[in-house]
């Protein structure tokens, strides 16, 4: 290219770039009188796909639950089981037959009718041999599903299951249609008040209001879920006005600056995330209950909550959240008492303490708690080597392989105290007593009796000091002050935006 042309080309290119920059920088100036009808919700992780019946990733439910897909029953903002796709139901006296009556006008987003055949299909698919439902166990008690007419479904169980209605309210039990189920991962078709519009991979999922929804219409016309993993980027996106509401905001150290800013509201609620110092009960010296109790006395939960959660979170004394019916406060069972801890260790034949390893998965609460706990245990002579791990190796070695001494993790499944009864779970905990209460729970429908049984289970776990019971993960939401109706608490992993509106 002759030099003159080259120069001209360069000048044109530079001019274009600079001009573009100028034009883009001058953003649109909008004066809005009417309340907004769109919402941008921030999420930490992107869902791998959008089919809640084919994956355990919480992010799937956080986009689709109640908004796009509806299960037979639903969990509401208070954690109660309420009508979902079924408007009412009856349970037989023996607890083995559930009769669901479905909503009359329900339609799938593709326009097809949603009826009992779809329910039968959904449940049979979830419990079938080929099923990759992450919570296949939820459906294990089902012996058969009948659809006597288009609006009625009868589910028979092979054994009583006290949590059946609760589990049927999970995203894993969402009602899907045989025609669209195969494609739900990329183009989800549900019966909810919002329908899928588009997915910009790696960045956002957009839902729009479903004009044909048979129930109350949501106030929002469009909801965008944006995925921002980096803590600094989350703060910047909120401050720059890109995000309207960020639930499960876990950069706790940034909460004060949002509390001080009148443009934002900070809500701190509860989750189902019991955070525990996971202990390998089969390994020496943790097979000795005195050692486990010594550790319980050595941990100062208040310092932990202040240091890790900046004060936002409740202490627990067993594997049960304080906000749930049936909770028993056992936090006083092992008060912080290093001397008592040392005495217990001496009693267990370890007057000089011992050396052990604490394997930590990536979440920030785990890393921070781990460092503090290592320091606390060192005070009583337990020399802890902290070993940070990536998620995949942690799952492989600690969770599946049970190759660990101590670990630290939040268990976020709701009402998951039953994991202590699983024969092969990574705590390596075995208790006939606990399992007997569990069997009783499965036979019991009466709420008051169930709560008493849950209390008994909590006491057993606390007495056995199975794990170090630390705190509940809080659920912090940072949002623009004009946003109303986001859930404060997280009884399940969901961003139910059906009741959200702008002031």
């Amino acid at each position: 290219m002759p030099n003159r042309q080259r120069r001209a080309a360069l000048a044109v290119t530079m001019g274009a770039v600079l001009g573009l920059a100028g034009a883009l920088a001058a953003g649109p100036v909008l004066a809005q009188a009417a309340p907004r009808t769109d919402l941008v919700v921030g999420m930490r992780l992107e869902p791998p796909h959008l089919d809640p019946t084919a994956g355990a990733a919480a992010a799937i439910d956080e986009v689709t639950y109640a908004n796009l897909f509806e299960p037979l029953t639903r969990i509401d903002a208070e954690g109660k089981v309420v009508p979902g796709f079924a408007e009412k139901w009856e349970v037989s006296a023996d607890g083995l037959t559930y009769t669901f009556h479905l909503r009359k006008g329900a339609k799938f987003h593709d326009g097809s009718d949603a009826d009992s055949a779809d329910v039968k299909f959904s449940l049979d698919r979830a419990r079938g041999a080929e099923s990759v439902n992450a919570q296949k166990g939820y459906f294990a008690a089902i012996a058969g599903v009948e659809a006597p007419d288009a609006r009625t479904v009868v589910v028979t169980l092979s054994r009583p299951d006290g949590l059946f209605l609760f589990h049927m309210a999970s995203g894993d039990a969402a009602i899907v249609a045989p025609e669209s189920a195969g494609a739900n991962k990329q183009t989800p078709v549900g019966t909810g008040p919002f329908k899928f519009e588009r997915w910009v991979a790696g960045d956002r999922v957009v839902l729009v209001r479903n004009p044909d929804y048979d129930g109350p219409k949501p106030a929002l016309e469009r909801v965008t879920f944006r995925f921002i993993n980096d803590p600094a980027a989350q703060v910047a996106a909120l401050k720059a006005g890109d995000i309207d509401s960020f639930p499960q905001f876990d950069t706790y150290e940034a909460l004060p600056q949002f509390r001080d800013d009148g443009a934002f509201t900070v809500m701190v609620g509860t989750t189902e995330g019991e955070t525990i110092l996971g202990t390998n009960n089969a390994r020496k010296p943790f097979d000795d209950v005195r050692v486990r109790r010594a550790m319980a006395h050595a941990i100062d939960r208040k310092t932990l909550i202040d240091g890790v959660l900046f004060g936002n979170g409740a202490a627990i004394g067993s594997h049960f959240p304080p906000h749930r019916a049936g909770y028993v406060d056992l936090t006083g069972l092992y008060p912080y008492d290093p001397d008592k801890a040392k005495a217990l260790l001496a009693e267990a034949g370890l007057p000089d303490g011992f050396a052990t390893t604490l394997r930590l998965p990536p979440p920030i609460y785990a890393r921070r708690s781990g460092e503090l706990i290592a320091a606390m245990l060192a005070e009583v002579g337990i020399r802890v080597t902290v070993e940070p791990m990536e998620w995949a190796p942690w799952l492989e070695k600690v969770f599946k392989g049970k190759d660990y001494d101590l670990t630290l993790i939040a268990h976020t499944e709701p009402l998951d105290i039953d994991i202590y009864g699983r024969p092969d779970y990574y705590f390596n905990y075995q208790s006939e007593r606990f399992n007997a209460v569990g069997a009783e729970l499965d036979r019991t429908q009466d709420p008051a009796k169930r709560n008493a049984l849950y209390g008994e289970q909590q006491r057993i776990l606390a007495e056995d000091a199975v794990n170090g019971f630390l705190f509940m993960l809080p659920s912090a939401t940072v949002q623009k002050s004009a946003v109303q109706g986001m859930w404060v608490n997280r009884p399940i992993q969901a961003n139910d935006v059906t009741g959200v509106r702008w002031k």
């Binding site: 030099n3 120069r7 360069l10 290119t13 530079m14 770039v17 573009l20 920059a21 034009a23 883009l24 920088a25 953003g27 791998p48 796909h49 994956g55 355990a56 990733a57 080929e130 099923s131 990759v132 439902n133 992450a134 919570q135 296949k136 166990g137 991962k185 990329q186 588009r198 910009v200 991979a201 790696g202 960045d203 956002r204 944006r226 995925f227 921002i228 993993n229 980096d230 600094a232 980027a233 910047a236 996106a237 401050k239 720059a240 890109d242 990536p362 990536e390 998620w391 995949a392 190796p393 799952l395 492989e396 070695k397 969770f399 599946k400 993790i409 268990h411 499944e413 998951d416 092969d424």
Partner: protein, 315 residues
């Protein structure tokens, strides 16, 4: 020239094959079961087993390696474990962001660096030269991610001119998409420009010492004309070489910048895939990047050999 080309292409093929072996072996050695990662702590063992079988993870490694490499030769990069989509499609989606980003950054850095380098060379030892050198030193020293955060704080949080990150998608229109790419491109371009400006300056100074430049000056040509007509074209050869070499830095920089700006480009895909243990995606993207870097360097070599025949003889 033909023998040189063939040798270059053979090296390229060998490197690509070695890359597949190394990447596969490394990922095999890292513990972690992708099926378990997908299903998480609440997973039932039978669900994990069913998923493993569905993903073909229960097959022995030689079968999986052969299947992977064989597939790639046919353009089939496999199916992402997390996204349950063909990797080729995923990569194409992400390239639609990373390539314009890299292109814009390259344009910006060359547009900034080459005039600055020439300017400094023309004022060697004076204040202008000193300023450019200082800019270069700073650009090299300041980490890219830090610079990216500063840009966000100023232009997004403070001034509100740009989004703090994210990408609306090309289907939202070219203007919003380009707007989303502009700040990241600047963040990516400036460290590159800093290095490039110094190299341009050195190359220009070397050329200024050549006989023909002295002749041009002696003829009475104004210095600006000398710089533009005689120095620039000759100085561009080392600059082009460096630009090619910098391609790999650009890719590495894109991983960082895409994460800070939450841009769903190839770098971010790779970063997320590693976190999610999405082996097929990691394998394929790493091999793709390795081959691209090697190919770009080969292209630069070939281009330089075409301009200047000497390396052909010695290579």
């Amino acid at each position: 020239m033909l023998a040189f080309l063939v040798r270059r292409l053979l090296t390229l093929a060998l490197t690509a094959w070695l890359a597949t072996l190394v990447v596969f072996a490394v990922l095999e050695a890292i513990p972690g079961d992708p099926a378990l990662v997908m299903l998480g702590t609440s997973a039932q063992p039978e669900a994990v087993a069913a998923l493993r079988a569905q993903m073909g993870l229960d097959r022995p490694w030689p079968v999986r390696y052969a299947g992977w490499v064989g597939g790639m030769l046919h353009g089939d990069f496999g199916t992402s474990l997390t996204y349950a989509r063909p990797v080729a499609g995923l990569v194409a989606d992400r390239l639609a962001i990373t390539l314009p980003l890299a292109g814009l950054a390259l344009l910006l850095s060359a547009g900034i660096a080459i005039p600055l380098g020439l300017f400094a060379a023309g004022r060697q030892g004076r204040a202008g030269d000193w300023a450019v050198m200082a800019f270069g030193q700073m650009g090299i020293a300041v980490p890219g991610f830090w610079f990216a955060i500063l840009l966000i704080l100023l232009f997004s949080v403070r001034l509100g001119w740009f989004s703090a990150g994210g990408f609306p998608g090309w289907e939202a229109g070219a203007a919003p998409a380009l707007k989303a790419l502009l700040l990241p491109a600047v963040a990516l371009a400036l460290p590159e420009a800093a290095i490039l400006a110094r190299i341009t300056r050195t190359a220009a100074l070397d050329t200024l010492r050549e006989e023909y430049v002295r002749t041009a000056v002696a003829k009475g040509l104004p210095r600006r004309v000398v710089l533009r007509r005689h120095v620039l074209p000759n100085a561009l050869i080392p600059v082009a070489t460096i630009l090619g070499l910098q391609f790999s830095f650009l890719v590495a920089g894109a991983v960082v910048v895409e994460n800070v700006f939450t841009l769903p480009g190839l770098g971010r895909l790779l970063y997320q895939a590693i976190g999610q243990h999405d082996l097929i995606v990691v394998q394929s993207v790493v091999v793709l990047l390795a081959v691209t870097v090697v190919a770009v360097n080969a292209l630069v070599d070939i281009a330089c050999a075409a301009i200047d025949p000497r390396p052909r003889v010695t290579a």
